[in-house]
């Protein structure tokens, strides 16, 4: 007799076989070490899954639903649409800010340039037309020691 289909082994673990199928699987388990190993692996995997802890909702989630009533809940689509609109607005604002930073400085350049203005002003206010030496006599000589 040929080996039963392998998926009978999962159904065997779940007690979802009729008497005839169950007998076939048990016979195969007796005869085949490979099937016994697969049976052990599947049983272990199933137990790990069944042993997963219950995942609880965040605190207050159900209280919130009960408080406002499920009819007051925002349907998934509407909520996602709203989130998408907010994203578009935020994206537009960010793009506008980038454009402003890149383009606007060219429009607000100071005329004449500050460096040129300072140097021409210094030249005009200096008698000797040599601006640096004009700054020196502002204070008296410093005497160190007695």
């Amino acid at each position: 007799m040929s080996a039963p289909p392998e998926d009978l082994l999962s159904a065997y673990l779940d007690d979802e076989l009729d008497a005839g199928e169950r007998a076939r699987v048990e016979r195969q388990l007796e005869e085949s070490a490979e099937w016994r190993e697969l049976h052990r692996e599947l049983r272990e995997t199933r137990e790990l899954l069944r042993g997963l802890p219950i995942r609880d909702a965040p605190a207050g989630f159900f209280d919130g639903l009960l408080e406002r009533g499920v009819t007051g809940a925002v349907p998934i689509d509407a909520k996602r649409r709203r989130t998408r609109i907010v994203s578009w607005v935020a994206g537009g604002a960010a793009a506008a800010a980038i454009v402003a930073v890149v383009l606007v400085p060219g429009q607000t350049r100071v005329k004449p340039a500050v460096a040129t203005f300072v140097s021409s002003h210094a030249a005009r206010s200096s008698v000797s037309e040599e601006p640096v030496s004009e700054l020196a006599p502002v204070a008296g000589p410093v005497r160190l020691g007695r």
Binding site: S10, L49, G51, L52, P53, I54, D56, A57, P58
Partner: protein, 172 residues
Amino acid sequence: MTTDGVPSWEEVARDHGRFLYNVAYRLSGNDDDARDLVQESLLRVRRGLETYQPGSFEGWLARIVTNVFLDEVRRKRRRPVQALPDDPDRVLPAMAGADDAAAAAGLSAEIQEALAGLPEEFRVPVVLRDVADQTYEDIAGTLGVPVGTVRSRLHRGRRMLRAALVESGVVQ
């Protein structure tokens, strides 16, 4: 409870919310999607309570949350679900009587990650069987496929999960 023995949606949220959220989380792999799934499921519960036929109530809820999940999967087919690790502060022990081996070994995040890595086609029957404790017939009804298909997908799902757990070093 209404006069015909059918609970109100508030009672469903209060008494079965934990079950619903747990299944939603194991299907979706993250809290944000699980919250959305539960919220939408409760909306459908509210609409469906009038026509609910007494039977396995958690089976009915599992079917609703699975349908909501599959609708969402179809909608965002191009956006892959990213599994986030369990937050240990919010994970409570499994119900009394359940095998707590995974929690005891501190492996739940790795197992959840492996589960989230399964294609939905295989993840859904695995979650419905091993988390929601549904029979093959219930799962077949939920998914609209023959029982043989459930058996095959469940088996392949468990084997794929096993391979992922071996790869991540959870089992040998």
